[in-house]
């Protein structure tokens, strides 16, 4: 992309460069949810229309946007900006999970919803956070996994289908 801009669109390159410089100077992490913001606390965390007793933990700001698009979640967020990955040397400490601990123990939060990815690293991160929060009396839940909505079994990958089978539920009513 850099080469393309330099060759064909030097004006665009300048614009991009200015935008990046501006972002580098003004963007920081929200004191409450850790996502990128230009303020100390982002607009979402300031909102009075959200349920402050629910905290959803996601790996990235993109994941947070995906959760928002469900229009089904009205609580607050914590964005990890990464995940525990032992073989890449990313530990709980380097991920700064102590800040999440402090956030979750603000006295208002009752439930922490773990929405990290269903990869080994996402699962390791979820396990660690659950082990960290459970003894402190916070309810910890994990988003379910299974067959996608509108997904026909014929086209679902075998791993997902196998896991959905293992985590089957009793039909109530």
């Amino acid at each position: 992309m850099a080469y393309h801009l330099l060759q064909r669109d030097r004006g665009g390159a300048q614009g991009l460069s200015d935008a990046l410089a501006h972002a580098l100077q003004t963007i920081r992490h929200c004191n409450k949810c850790n996502t990128f913001t230009e303020d100390d606390v982002c607009a979402r965390c300031m909102s009075t229309h959200r349920d402050p007793s629910l905290l959803c933990v996601v790996e990235t700001p993109v994941d947070m946007n995906m959760m928002e698009q469900t229009l089904s979640y009205r609580g607050l967020y914590y964005v990890l900006m990464g995940k525990i990955s032992p073989l890449d040397g990313v530990s709980a400490r380097s991920l700064g999970l102590d800040r999440l601990l402090a956030r979750a123990l603000d006295g208002v939060i009752k439930e922490v919803v773990l929405a990290t990815n269903y990869t080994n690293e996402g699962e390791a991160t979820a396990h660690y956070i659950a082990a960290m929060l459970r003894p402190k009396g916070v309810t910890v839940t994990r988003i379910a996994r299974g067959v996608p909505v509108g997904g026909e079994l014929e086209y679902v990958d075998s791993g997902t289908l196998a896991q959905a089978l293992r985590e089957r539920k009793t039909c109530l009513g």
């Binding site: 530990s91 269903y118 080994n120 699962e123 396990h127 660690y128 293992r166």
Partner: protein, 242 residues
């Protein structure tokens, strides 16, 4: 034509993946017939890549690759199924196994027996829905690993060639094996004979044997890792200190 240059239907596990260029991955695998290999998975980081979700550690795969010279390209990966994803402590234990293999196993060196023992161990880890780890499984894998690497353990007789006395005390020296300690003789690490015999028989019913076997294995691993500290051990410690 080189045997390794075109392979198909090879049982393998992903040990780790590293991002490569914009959209690709370098995949470290442990394959049954070729041992540890580094394969290039082109485009595997593209959002719609068919192979993306498959290249997960701890899952049994069948893979195919092709290539000339140094770089081999992953052509195919098929999920073999039947094994739940690792959870809880078992997941961290899985990372430990992978870190050991990445650090101790030379590349492109076949270890069929170790492959079988690794597959068996992952099956055991996946079996427990609570993700609990049996120490005995870990010890037996560590033993198999040392054996396969040619660092076999001496556990049935001491450095003088005498059978291990279950009631006597020993220390373990790398080149000599168990060295019997005389009365009141001190050593950095002391094991009772019973521990060595139990470790040889992989019988960990006795808490003392369990405890001392773990200490001995840790010393051996540290020796062969030549001072490299394992990330997984650090994280395990953080987890236990919670």
């Amino acid at each position: 034509m080189n045997l390794r240059s075109k392979v198909d239907g090879q049982p393998a596990y992903v040990l780790h993946t590293y991002p490569f260029r914009e959209t690709s991955l370098i995949v470290e695998v442990f394959s049954r017939d070729f041992g540890r290999m580094a394969l290039l998975a082109r485009g595997a980081r593209r959002p719609r890549s068919a192979i993306r979700g498959l290249l997960m550690a701890f899952q049994p795969l069948e893979i195919g690759w092709a290539g000339k010279g140094e770089v081999l390209t992953l052509m195919k990966a098929e999920w073999q199924g039947g094994q739940p994803l690792l959870a809880g402590e078992a997941l961290f234990c899985g990372y430990y196994l992978n870190e050991l293999l990445i650090n101790l196993l030379p590349r492109e060196d076949a270890h069929e027996r170790l492959f079988a023992s690794y597959a068996h161990m992952l099956g055991r880890l996946a079996d427990d829905p609570a993700g609990k780890v049996r120490e005995a499984d870990l010890r037996s894998f560590e033993k198999a690993l040392l054996q396969e690497l040619g660092y076999g353990l001496t556990l049935n007789h001491d450095s003088a060639g005498l059978p291990i006395d279950p009631e006597a005390f020993y220390t373990y020296r790398m080149e000599q094996g168990p060295v019997r300690l005389e009365h009141d003789e001190a050593a950095a690490q002391v094991f009772i004979g019973q521990t060595l015999l139990d470790l040889a028989a992989e019988d960990f019913a006795n808490p003392r044997s369990r405890h001392e076997s773990k200490a001995l294995m840790r010393t051996l691993m540290a020796y062969y890792l030549a001072g490299k500290e394992l990330e997984t051990r650090r994280i395990f410690k953080e987890l236990q200190e919670l």
